[in-house]
Amino acid sequence: MASTVIPANQAPASTTTNYLNNGHSLKSWLLTTDHKRIAVLYLISVTVFFFLGGFFAMLIRLELLTPEGDLMQADTYNKVFTMHGMIMVFFFLIPVVPAVLGNFLIPLMIGAKDLAFPRINLLSWYLYVIGVLLISHVMLTGGVDTGWTFYSPFSTEYTNTKIVEAGLAAFIAGFSSIFTGLNFIVTIHRMRAPGLTWNRLPLFVWANYATSIIMILGTPVVAITIVLVAVERLFHLGIFDPRLGGDPLLFQHLFWFYSHPAVYIMILPSMGVISELITCFSRKRVFGYNFVALSSIAIAVIGFLVWAHHMFVAGISLYAAMIFSFLTFFVGVPSAVKVFNWTATLYRGSISYATPMLYAFGFIGLFTIGGLTGLFLATLGIDVHVTDTYFVVAHFHYVMVGGVLMGYLGGMHFWWPKISGRMYPEGWAKLSALLVFVGFNLTFFPQFILGYVGMPRRYWQYPPEFQVLNVLSTAGASVLAVGYLLPMIYLLWSLKYGPIADANPWRAAGLEWQAASPPTTFNFDETPVVTWEAYNYDEIDANGHGGSH
């Protein structure tokens, strides 16, 4: 990338105090209220747990190399897939983009010095840490074996694993999520720089705003569900037990009322990242800004109306199933609109292939497939056949790994110079992106086929005719693992040996690029006054330098 002329009021990172070297003690990190340091704390914690969840995934794929259950016992396998799911859902996918990228970038993007409630932000991180400590204790003392969905009555009456403790871990992590969402909404409403109207906001901010709405409305419902499960388990109260007058389906309704919108908590911020990447690397405004912004809100709202599409064969009435199927198709429309708008943004752009853009391309392809297979599941006649099979597993991995994770990795590479002050090595990064894309497809595409031919999910052993596809899937997982390990290595390497980055190495639009790389503790010396539209790449490229004034 061509280096930019650095504005006079921002000296190169190495000679000024920035948020990273403003205080070196452990206390200055553990008691920080600086949103950027908190983001880094989150980055370290979620990365550790991502690899732990990934380790469990490797165990699953290794067991599934052969039809027999020969690597571990059935109970162990059941615990492994449960812990894989719980860790990835509650301790990685839900927090990762908001708590790492959102925390770091939102104040910078809106020209603020910090989030509205910096101490609550720190509390959020500590709650997350308490959650992970609890779940780690659960894992070390036997794990849980209910699947991450912990359906009753198995979870309330039959299993003898540590449900209450695991539930408590998720409950506490849920409050971390709620406080993050609350912080974001107040910040975005109240702390935008002068001149930064709603329709000048970066789409990443819109995306996190919509996500935060879901966080604060949905998370409390799963919190109370966990409380009721714990109460039933501890005191045998029979809220979900049919022998005591309860209803196991009530559990499923309460659980999915959160857990469906939860998947939009995972994908929306990643979609926000993609908007930032596509615009920067095509040097264009996004096509249809209003539509992309409002589609995030639409997804958040409609996402609350479709939960029972997880229950088409659970015993709900025929008519309820039809209503939820119909509504589920609605929620596909705004997602499709985003994909079309991003593609249209490429038209007559000036496109470069830096690693973040490669991840964005990958996202568009994989999210398209993942989203379309969601339509298969929304279609009642097909869902009856493929629900609870590997088809569903493939679908959600396409959107969560092919979607959320690709967006996250793209964003991490894009904002790495801002976060660390260093550039990553482009060659290795491109190689990793390619490995991730190839490995991912090899891992999960065969699972669509596996599901349709009838392999159920959560199976420790399976009939021999399913072996070939399982072997392909495991082979892909090995490639994928390498693709994820490489960035760990070279990003860490770049902290010491990477070239020093200037404030805006990508010549990108957005207030965050007007702060230094890395930013100072209070982000901006003077509060910026915004007089330009979002993604004003025509002005930026006409001026030929990194500023946007």
Partner: protein
Amino acid sequence: MAGQVDALYIYLLLVSGVMTMLIFVAVTVLAIKYRRMPGRDAHQIEGSTILEITWSIIPFFVMLTFFIWGAVIYFKERTPPADSTEVYVVAKQWMWKIEHMEGQREINELHVPVGQNVKLIMTSQDVIHSFFVPAFRIKQDVLPGRYTTLWFKATVPGRYHLFCAEYCGTMHSGMGGDIVVMEPQDYAQWMAGGPAAPLQDTGKQLFATLGCSTCHRSDVQGRGPNLQGIYNKPVLLEDGRTVIADENYVRESILNPTAKIVSGFKPVMPTFQGIVSDEQLNALVAYVKSLAQPPAGTAALQSQPAAAPPQPQNTQVQ
């Protein structure tokens, strides 16, 4: 029905394939055609409301076709034909227990004749399971405390995998079996090959030994409603509601009698929760279902017991 599911699946595959190809090709072509070149700047385009509306509306209508076709199939899948042979299924950790009406019992195997509509009436003894036959493209969760139903018509003889598809504990993946579809004559032979009492006969015995017949008489008006011919008929309850006396109603009335008291009767029936097993419940339900319509003029369930004069019937005590 499986053929229809496959046809719908192929339709969706085609549409999705086309859509995916369109996006892949568009992104690839645009990314190459508009790659960064010196001297060529990006051309800013604000957007196009017409385009936005078009590419929202058209996919929505395409999706409507998915919905309608899928809903039609689902409706048919959840509406068992009236002439279906019924089979009771009890799921437990970790096996499937099957009871044919004729009394044949099976574990993890279900024999059915080809070309015959079969309706499964299923319940679980413990946690939620799911009855899944991939070859037939059908699946239904099996719940504790109530009946769920599933129907199919096998068209080709053979053995087909049966899987449990709702995680249920340690041996969830071992809770499998086979659906064995046989030619009618082979099936008849199989049916005849074992001592078994028809399910409703077992139920009739239980009805007597458990004391049900003390109150539920069909000769004179007893303390409980006459059960002749009640299956699938509307029943007026004490609180004014009317419900249909289906399998779930009969089952509930045995396990939780005070839930739906029939109009004009006192709440004196004791509960049999914990006294009858799921298999015994199935037998009782089958028996009640088999009770024929009483002759005209006999006390039906809708009127007060005192108002209907007792009718002379056969003197056999039920």
